[in-house]
Every structure is written in structure tokens, then in C-alpha cells.
């Protein structure tokens, strides 16, 4: 997999401008980014820095005004809706801040939903492994409303992993959880990267979360302004400090 140096997602000189004329706002201004295989990449930055926009564009949810994004070698900026849908089924998983489970389906059905949609049969062994790993063996029949926030996010993580996508995008995965539960979720994400070699991109403003990443990208004013390898929470907070001071 991957084009060069094991990168599964490669973005070249992407910019995104919202609105037109006088009211135009640039959310991204020429960003180059490569997401390496089997690593957890965190994207940090203050509000309005463009971190969410970056993730949306990398994941094919939004189109850049200019520039290109390749996932597994395919330029997704030129794909039509059908091709993009097919690409999503094979290559992309999502973890959301608000979990986005379907309320009328059980945990099990939510977990299997990507396969159901794609019309594929679940791999029994992989399913059992995932359920065991996220620790939901006894909650599979429950509806999301009967689960705690942490449990819901566990279902969501398993759902993102079940189709073994090329890359999983997580949008503030701990943003709606208390710190203890958030830490558990982060452990789980970390473990899936280490144990299953899952590539992940996580947008967060939580230094604790970013400290779990193999690599932290800092955005400000639509540009990548700094990049850290795996760092401690203190180093990350310090980096944020310098960013905001600057």
C-alpha cells in the first residue's frame, strides 16, 4: 500500500476558500500533508485554524478549492459521487464526536452497518476479535440510548474498524466524553494502531489525546506551522503555547 514512503493519504497544496468576493474566507492556504501507513496522526490547532476543514478534505467529505488529495493512489478530488461512495466503503472509516450511531439499531447492527451497506458478509473471527477488544460482548443487543457515552464511542470505533479501511478519520473522538472515559477511548485507538496496524487521523484540541499520536501536526490560519513526533502532553502544551503567543 501507499505511494511513497508508506504514505496512504497524500495531500498536495490544498487550499479551501469559503464564500466569494469580499466575503471570501480562506480556511486552508496551500497545505501539503502525508499520512503515513500504520500510524496515528493528530491534527491540532486553535478554533478556526482549519483543522476540521483539513480532515473533511482528506476524508473526501469536502472538496478543496485547489490542490489534490490521493488516498491509496487515487485522486479523490476528481471523483464523482458514486466513485467516492465506493472509495469510502473500501478505504475510509469514521469516528465522530457525537458518535453518530443510528438510534433504532442495536449495538451489533450499528457495528456491522458498513458491511451491511456494502453488502458484505462479516468475517466472524474479526468481528469476535473487535467485540472482545472494545469490551462490548454483553452489550451487543442494546440500543445506543441504553449505552453510556463511552460505550457508544466504543461501538463507533469498532464500526470504523470492522471493514478494515485504509484509513480511519476521527473527529474530536473524546470531545463529548469525560476525561476518564476519554482516556479509555484513546487507549483503544492507540491499541488498534499498534495491534492491527490501523492508519488513523485524529482531529483534536485535547493535548492528552494528541500525546497518544505518533505525530502531531499543528495548524494555524490555514497552514501547517509545526510538526512534532510522538510527544508528551507537556511538550504539546508548550508547542500550543508558542503557537498562540506568536
Amino acid at each position: 500500500m501507499g505511494s511513497q514512503n508508506g504514505a496512504v493519504v497524500v495531500a498536495r497544496d490544498i487550499s479551501r476558500i469559503y464564500g466569494e468576493g469580499d466575503t471570501a474566507v480562506a480556511a486552508l492556504r496551500g497545505v501539503d500533508v502525508e499520512i503515513p501507513l500504520g500510524r496515528l496522526t493528530a491534527v491540532m490547532g486553535p478554533s478556526g485554524s482549519g483543522k476540521s476543514t483539513l480532515m473533511h478534505i482528506l476524508a473526501g467529505l469536502d472538496k478543496p478549492t485547489s490542490g489534490s488529495v490521493r488516498i491509496d493512489g487515487t485522486d479523490i478530488t476528481t471523483l464523482d459521487d458514486t466513485a467516492l461512495t465506493k472509495l469510502r466503503r473500501k478505504h475510509i472509516g469514521f469516528i465522530f464526536q457525537f458518535f453518530n450511531l443510528l438510534p433504532m439499531l442495536s449495538a451489533r447492527e450499528n457495528l456491522l452497518l458498513p458491511l451491511t451497506i456494502a453488502g458484505e458478509k462479516p468475517d466472524r473471527g474479526w468481528f469476535d476479535e473487535l467485540v472482545r477488544r472494545v469490551g462490548l460482548s454483553d452489550r451487543l443487543r442494546h440500543r445506543p440510548a441504553e449505552l453510556s457515552g463511552g460505550q457508544q464511542q466504543r461501538v463507533a470505533i469498532a464500526r470504523a474498524l470492522v471493514s478494515r479501511p485504509t484509513v480511519v478519520f476521527a473527529d474530536e473522538p473524546t470531545g463529548n466524553l469525560d476525561s476518564t472515559t476519554g482516556a479509555e477511548i484513546l487507549e483503544l485507538m492507540r491499541a488498534s494502531v499498534e495491534d492491527y496496524g490501523q492508519t488513523m487521523v485524529m482531529v483534536t484540541h485535547d493535548a492528552e489525546a494528541a500525546a497518544m499520536a505518533d505525530r502531531v501536526l499543528f495548524l494555524a490560519d490555514g497552514r501547517i506551522v509545526q510538526e512534532l513526533p510522538r510527544s508528551s502532553r507537556h511538550e504539546i502544551l508548550a508547542a500550543i503555547e508558542t503557537l498562540t503567543v506568536r
Binding site: S52, H56, A59, G60, L61, D62, D81, T82, T85, K86, R88, R89, I92, F94, F96, Q97, F98, N100, L102, P103, M104, L105, E109, L113, P114, T116, I117, A118, R159, S163, D171
Partner: protein, 926 residues
Amino acid sequence: MIAFALRGLLARKLRTVLTALGVVLGVALMSGTFVLTDSIDDAFHSIFSQTYRNADAAITGKSAFSLSGGNGSTPPSFDQSLLPTVRGLPEVGAASGFVTSDTHLIGSNGKAISFGGAPNLGFSVDPAQPDLSVLTLVSGAWPHQDEVVVDRTTAQRKHLSVGQTIGVQARGPVERMRIAGIVKFGSVSSLGGATLAGFDLGTAQRLFDKPGKLDQILIAGKPGVSTSQLLAGVSKVLPPNTQVRTGSEQASKDASDASGFISFLRTLLLAFGGIALFVGSFVIANSLSITIAQRTREFATLRTLGASRRQVLRSVILEALAMGFTASVVGLFLGLGLAVGLFKIFDAAGLTLPNSGLVFRTRTVVVALVVGTLITLLASLRPAMRATRVPPIAAVREGAKLPQGRYARFRPLGAALLTALGFAFLLLGLFVHGLGTAGVLTLLLVGALLVFIGIATFSAQLVRPIAAAANPVARWAVIAFSAVVWPLFSLPFWLLRYGAWGPGTTGRRAGAFVGGAVLNPLLLLLVLAMMLRRTVSGWRPEWPADFPGVLTEPSATRIGSENSQRDPQRTAATAAALMIGLALVTLMAALAAGIIRPFEQAVDAIFVADYAITAQNNFDPIPTTVTAAVAKTPGVESIAGVRVGDGRAFGKHIELTAVDPQAGDVLRLDWRQGSQATFGSLGADGAFTTDSYAKQHHLAIGSPLTVETPTAALLNLHLAGTFHPPAGGSPFGAVTISSATFDRHYEQPKNLYTFVQMHGGVNDANTAALNAALTSFPNAKAVTRDEFKNNQSAAIKNILNVLYVLLALSVVVSIFGIVNALVLTVFERTRELGMMRAIGMTRRQTRRMIRHESVITALIGAVLGIVVGLLLAGLLTTRLDFIAFVVPVSQLVLFVLVAVVVGIFAAVFPARRAARLDPLAALHYE
């Protein structure tokens, strides 16, 4: 994905039920209609097949041309000498001759026995040939001379038994006869409300004024003789004015007269079922599109998980299919119950229908399920298309809105074009000649559908101005309504009620009553004082916001009014359902008023007599013997009857009327040629026609005019005058001749109306004298001109009421549409409502806000509906010259009030839900 779609429905039970109700009710009316009409159909078929159950062949009189069926016209009788000839034929085993005529049984109160407008039948019976008899003896004996047998149902309902005497009246005055036996019609248990009287042949011929005549001969063939041999044998001896058919042919011939009415009834009821479904489809489309807007995140999440647009489309359509099918199944069975209810409604409206058990055909099931499901499916298409436009990114964006379609900006233009196209279809259908009934109806139907859809779509543009205008109306209407209704639920009222009717000791009750009696006026004074102070000094107290609903509260209503304009498309779609129902109600009311007014004007212009003699039911022609009897009454200065019968002239069937020579005293016509004197100078061969008929056939005074009677006699007439009938019609048909000529050629002449001029005009003495003269004719009554007008228009009002009841169903559907839209809106605004509650909005204010929005929506529907209804009525009345364009102002005011009440009631449930929201929980609601 299937499971996903179905789960979605189950998870949103309330919404699903409210959404599907329109289909349930529409399908219920459809299946109910089928069950009802099939049951009537079956009942008629069994009645007529009973008649000929043992007859291989039947001989009847043959008219020269096919008769209109109305006016009580029956095929002419034939001479009874045919019977022995037929009996003498080698192929004939047995033959029996019958006469028949309308025959009234007179109850102990002196009034004719009649159940719900059903016919009152009289037959001759042939005790010698019981197998060929229509009637079967239940108890007693067959009648001898001047005896009668009556049917079991009538006997039971009126407590008649063998040996009693009863009044009987056919052509002549009432005669009293002994009841010899009780009979039933073949083996049929009920004939609707019909009454039966049977006599021996001689008595029947005398009573029916058919001496030496027969109406029918029933024949049983000899064993071993085939039916075709029998028919061939009988045909050889038939005189030209008779015909022979096999028994089963005759049965279906008789039944076909009834089935014309049944198929009319079926079409009418199905049309109303269709209307309810059409309204229901609006409700479904609207509810689904609101639901889909609310499920944006859900669809977006599905898209991020790899669902294609097609999968989203499929899941929404599948939901609609499942919902439509389930609703149709429920509606189907509800229809069975509705059929029973419809029998009762028609019974109450004076139309008792025969019923020999409910008939549930496969066709009913198939049509109900297919139509119900299909309508739901069609209604879901647009919302489903919207769902496919949800972009995946909406899964991560807060408050993502559904993107507009590519053609959204052309919506108003498209809607306007659609409306224009609809009106074009209507105009084409109404004013282009020579399209044929089917063509005209198709054009009108398509036109009306397009107009409704077009206006419903376009009305989103009108929501803001109408809502702004409706705002004060809604506020004050609700205030007035709560001022009238609220006190009924108040403490003083409860005290009064408890005091008057409640349980408990007398002392406690008396105390409560006195307390209520004191408190009630005090409270009223308090409220009035507060209102006064408010208006005078601009006093704005805090607590009355929670006090009686009598005080205006601009803050809550203002927000409610703003809310109704927030999403004009949604408000318009919600109001559209009510619009359709009210447009049709308005149309009906306007048409009914438009029929009644010219009719009354016509009566005022023509009817210059003091009294009219009509049948008890105002419509049946009555025997001329009645007129003769009334003529002898002291005080009668002049009397003239108007006869009616079938005729054929210029190769076409016409309604031939005849008039007594002194008609000039009691009727006034607008003569174009001739004068009032023409009435008296018609003589043996004079005739007058309407001016349009004379023009159409190029007739001038003295022109020859030949009219053929049903007995194939030719009347050679000449034109003696023409008159111009008023828009509301006249008692006269296309051609009118003298009654003497008429009576020479028509057997059993009957007067449709008789007009009487009395010495001294209308007064109690004269009324009493006429009534005395009519005692032996219980089916006739004397009425004044105003009574005559009211009686005739009462029939129209009765029909109008049945139509209102049927249309009420679509209004009910639209109420559920409003309820559903409001419930969904409350759901959607949970967070906003929580915020308002958190910053100090009271529960009552919340309720009032929702209610105000509801009433405004209903008023928008009412305004649009009334305008569209009047437009349609205007178009129709321009085309139909016997209907004037009349704006039924009082009814329209009533409809607006109904809309306000609809709005208030629709809001009850959603407003409670909104008020119950816990502010804290609502703020946390995601």
C-alpha cells in the same frame, strides 16, 4: 437495509401513525364504498333473481322507446286475454299473470307507511301458482277479494297481524282491507325500507286502475322443453306491444335499473375516498419531508459509512412502501366498519338501502391495497429525492441544512405555470363542446388536481402576507373562543355542575352551587376589570400571563406568528391539506346556494297559486284522482295539475308534460309567443314548448309537431305558443300538451304538481279544508308557496349535508396533517424551546405560542381554500346556466370559524408536548 428502513418506522411510532392516518382514512372510505355498494348490489341481485326463481320466461309490455326510468314511468300494460293463449301453448307448463303498481299502506296514524324513501310496492298474487308468485306466504292465507297481504318486515315494524284491517291506497282513495296473511319477498329477508302489499288479481286490477290488463306473465316450461323452444313458442303468439325474455334475462334487466343508481353511488363515494387520499398524500409528503430534514445527520452518517445515494433513496422509499402497505391494510378493515356506518348515514339522510349482509370481494382488497400503497409511494418520491441530496459532510457539521435542489429557484414559476395549466384544463373541459362525458370529466379531474398541486406549491410565496394578515384574526379568534369555552372548565362552573348534578349530600351540593353562583359573576367582573384597566392604562401585570386565557398576550403570539413564517414551504404544505378540503366544501356550498336561489326565484315567478299539492316526499307524481278530489273542496276557485310522461319527438326522448286548461289562473309563464290564454286553448292538438326547443327545431306558431308515446301512438300536434323558462327551471318539459289529450294516450296519468287557487288566499280555514279533502290520499299534502320552496330545497340541503359528512373526512385527514407537522416542529425545536423556557417563558406561553402557529396555519388553509373554492364555483356556474354564482357568506364565515377550531384542536397535543419539555433536558438534547 430493509431492516434498517423498517426499524426506522418502528422507532418513530407516533410520527409514523400520524403520517399514515391520511392513507388509512382514504383507503377506509374506498374499501367501505366497495363493501357498501357490493352489498347493495348483491341485495338487489338476490331480490331480482328471487322474483324469477321459478320462471323460465317472462312476458312484459314493450314501450315504443326506452323510458327515462324517472317519473314513475313503467312499460305499458297489455291485455289479459294473452294469458289463456299462453297457457294453451304446448310448450307451457304453467303461466301466471300479474299487475303491479305503487301502493301505500296507511298506518294507524293515517299517514302512509314509508321507510327512508324506499319504494312502496303493490302486486297481485296468484294463489293457484305459488311457485311462480313473487311473494311467499309466511302466515295466514292468500288474499281473497278486497283483502291484502303485507310483508313481514313492515308487519313487525308496525305491529300488524292477520285479521287486522289496514288502509291501502294505490290509484284511488284509501280503502280499508283485512290483512289475510303475512308474506315475504321470495326468500329475501329485507328489502331495505320497501313495503309490499299483495292482492288477488281482480282487486289489484281495480286498485291499480288496470281493468282487464296485465303487467307481466311469468311462465314455467313443460318438463323436457328447453328454454329456447319455450321462447320460440311464446314469441309466435305475442302481440306487438309485448316482449318475452328468459327469467334470468328479465332479472338482470330489472337489476340494471338499480345498478345505474349503485354505480352512481359507488363513483360518488369513491370520489370522496380519492379526495381523502389526495389530501392524505399531501400530509404524507409534508410529514416525510420534515422527517427527512430532521434525519439529515442520520442520512449523512450512512453516507460516510459508504451508503450510496441510491441506497438512501431505496431506504426512504422502502419505509414509505411499508408504511403505505400497513396503512392500507388497516384502512381496508376499517372500511368494513365504515360500510356499516355509511348504511346508517344514508338511512339518516332518508335513503334506506337494501342490505343482505356485507360483501367483501377480492377486488376490494386488491384495489384498496394497491391504491393506498401507490399513493404513499408517489407522495414519498420528492422527500426521498431530497434525502439523496444530503451530503456526507452533514454528519460532522452542526445544524447542517438540506441543500436546495438545482431547480429550487424555479419553484414559484413552475407552480404558477402548473396552476395556469390546471385552469386551462378546467376551461377546456367546461367550455369546449363535443368532448364527451369521459373527456370532460378527465379534463376537469386533471385540471383540479393540477390547480391544487400548483396552488399548494405556489402558496409558499403567499404564506408571509397571509400569515401577517391572519395574525390578529387568529389572536382574537382564540381569545373569543377561550372566553366562551374556558369558563366551562373553570372552578365556578365545576362547582355549579357539582351542585346541580353531582353526588354527595344535599348540603354539600347546595354549598357548591351557591359558591359557584357567587364566584362566577365575581370572576367575570374581575376579568372585565382587568381588561378595562389594561386597555385604559396600558397596565402589564406579570401574573395574568398565567391567568385566564382571556387576556391577549402579544409576546407568545408574536413568536408563534414568526414561527409560522419561518419555513414558508413547510407552512404552505401543511395548510395545503386543509385548503383542498375547504375548497371542495366551499365549492359545494356555493353550488348548492347557486341551485337554490334561481330555483326559488323561478318558483316566485311562476307559482302564482295559493297552494300546491305534492306527494309527501315532494317528488313522486301522484294520481290525478287526487286533483279531482281536491277540486270538489269548497273554496277552490281554480285548480290545475301538471302531468308528466315520456315521449319521443324529432327522434329524441323528451319529457312530455301536460297541463289543465285553467292553469293560467295558477301559473304565470314568460310567454314569447302566445299568452296566458294559451293554457286554455291548447285543445286536442295544441302544444307549447320552451323557446329554445322551438328555435332548435325551427318551429313557428302553427308548425306541425309529432310526439310518439310509449305505446307507439303518434300525437300530431301544432305549436300554439313558446315560453322562456327562468334559470331555475319550470314545471314544464320541452313540450306541453293539454291534459285531456295526455289522458287519452297515457294510462294511469299522474300529476307531478297540482296548483290550487282558493277563495281568500292562504289562510287556516283553506289549509284545513284542503287537508280534509286529502285525508283519503295520505301520500299527498297541501303546501303554501314558501313551504313548497323549502321542501324542494330541503332535498338539496340534505344531499349537501351528506357531502359535507363525506368531505369532513378529508378535513380530519388535514387536521392530522397539522398535528403531525406541529409535533415534528416541536421535536425539531426542542433545544430552542428549552432555551425559551430557561429564560422565563411559562408553560402556558409555550402552549399559546404553538397554538397560535397552528391557528395561523389553519387560517392560511382556509383563506386559500375558500378562494380556490369560489374560483371553481365561478367557473362551473358560468358554464351551467341553471346555477347562479352565489357567495354563501354565512357558510364561509362558518368555515373560517371551523378552521380556527381545527387549528386550536390540532395544537392541543403538540402544545402539551412542548410545554412538558424540561428546560434542562431540552438544552442537553442533541
